[in-house]
């Protein structure tokens, strides 16, 4: 893998937010999920992890979130303060592939959950919760139950819940993979709109080349068996991005490059991403 500079960042001035060095993960069942992962996530970037399924994208994201420990290597949060137990104050929002809502609770209750677990009283944070719900375009649905919503709307609730504590980092694990193309495009646009100029950082797992190019400032292409970093691709196109970008020559060129890289990651077998 020559030419891979793990510390290459979009914007040289942007300070490192997460520093992953030499991370490997072996599950107790014997699966070697990750090996020698080096990656520095810069403050404010939109970084996608792209790779074939089974290459350890979810595993890496979960390790970053602190759900599980790496078998080797370290994940540092240089800018975070550490608590008494030596755990970094990560300030993370997490969005799973499924909306993962509590079916017995209303939209409001679901979005309120992270604050509630912090001990915040309902009345004091009601406005903040309503803001988060409005922010994802669900104003008026606070009292609805998840089963009354469409798949796209449920995913919006999940995003609102991840954002309600105003985290510094949003981790998303193939959040739109189960949605139809139109809903997915709309959510992509809304996600970019939410991200624009807020200063937070997004780590976005996907297996779609087009989605990763459209959204990201940087793409980390991963390979499998065991999961490893293949290539870092900087998508040097300005934000805000919208329909014209999707139709532009540079978008197509980036898709081509990324596709080729992904194909390389899959061992050269003919594959339509």
């Amino acid at each position: 893998m020559d030419g891979v500079d793990p510390n290459q960042v979009v914007n040289a001035d942007a300070p490192a937010l997460i520093r992953i060095s030499g991370v490997g993960k072996r599950y107790s069942g014997g699966t070697h999920a990750l090996q020698g992962i080096d990656l520095t996530v810069a403050q404010g970037e939109f970084l996608s992890l792209l790779g074939p399924s089974g290459c350890g994208k979810s595993t890496l994201l979960r390790l970053i979130a602190g759900l599980g420990e790496p078998s080797e290597g370290t994940i540092d949060w240089p800018r975070a303060s550490y608590d008494a137990g030596g755990k970094p104050e990560r300030s993370i929002g997490f969005v799973f592939q499924e909306p993962t809502l509590m079916p017995w609770a209303t939209v409001f209750e679901n979005v309120y959950l992270p604050l509630r677990l912090d001990g915040a009283r309902r009345q004091t944070v009601a406005a903040q919760v309503e803001d988060a719900i409005e922010g994802v375009g669900l104003a008026g649905f606070a009292k609805a139950y998840p089963r009354q919503l469409s798949g796209g709307m449920r995913m919006r609730v999940s995003i609102a819940r991840a954002l309600v504590k105003r985290p510094k980092v949003l981790l998303m694990d193939e959040p739109f993979a189960a949605l139809d193309e139109i809903t997915r495009m709309r959510l992509n646009d809304d996600l970019l709109r939410l991200w624009a100029g807020r200063g937070w950082t997004v780590l976005f797992v996907t297996h779609s080349v087009y989605e990763s190019v459209y959204l990201s400032s940087r793409i980390a292409v991963m390979g499998a068996r065991p999961g490893h970093m293949r290539e870092l691709i900087t998508v040097d196109a300005p934000y805000p991005r919208d329909e014209p970008f999707r139709l532009s020559a540079s978008y197509n060129e980036y898709c081509r490059i990324t596709s080729a890289s992904l194909r390389g990651a899959m061992g050269g077998v003919g594959h339509q991403p």
């Binding site: 759900l67 993370i92 997490f94 799973f96 509590m102 017995w104 609770a105 959950l113 912090d118």
Partner: protein, 268 residues
Amino acid sequence: MNEDSRPVSPAMRVAVPLVLGIVVLGVWEFLVWWLEVPKFVLPPPSAIVKSLANDYPSLLVSLWITLRITLMAFFIALATGVLLAVLSVQSRLVEISIFPYAVMLQVTPVVAIAPLILIWVGVEHIDRALLILATIVAFFPILSNTTLGMKSVDHNLRDLFQLYGASRWQRLRMLQLPAAQPYLLGGMKISGGLALIGAVVAEFVAGSGTGSGLAWRIVESANRLNIPRMFAALLMLSVLGIVIFLLLAGLETLLLGRWHESAVRRER
């Protein structure tokens, strides 16, 4: 979801079984009269109603005694079942120590334990023996259903709670117990019926305490060949069973109606 999705209105839900019941009763009355079946073999419905009208003061007292034991057994089973389920989900050690004994209690026929319980509580406390036996019968569905429910929490939701640093107590109250609700309510419906069965069977085996419950009325009527009265007592028992079931089913709809697939009626 039912395979047959033809719409059934609430009125039909009542009317259809009612019509069936009336037809069966009519045929019964007619056959008993036409074949001249003696009353002590099979009384006609009219004789049962007459007996119910004559004997209802004593039958109501018995009904109350049976009902009281049933309700007490049900609530004790509910409380201990949920408590033990919560404990066994908190600690694997508790779980593996409790479950073999719970299963043992469940599979041993209550009729077989009755004499032992009777000796332990003393013959002067038959009421207590009845309560213990009915509780044993009613307890297991609550324990096993609640445990299963608490364990079937969505893995990602569990991770989410961990991510936000939820305490054990928060996880129990906001995640595991709500997730277990549909399972618990299913267990309660089974357990409510079992508590009644337990109370009746226990009275058959252990005899009645200070007052006699419906089971004893049935034994007594049989001994005196007062078959209409026996049927009247039986009728009361089944009505009681139905009422308990309907109340618990109503509670289920009330609690799950807005969110759980089993209780939500879907528009097409």
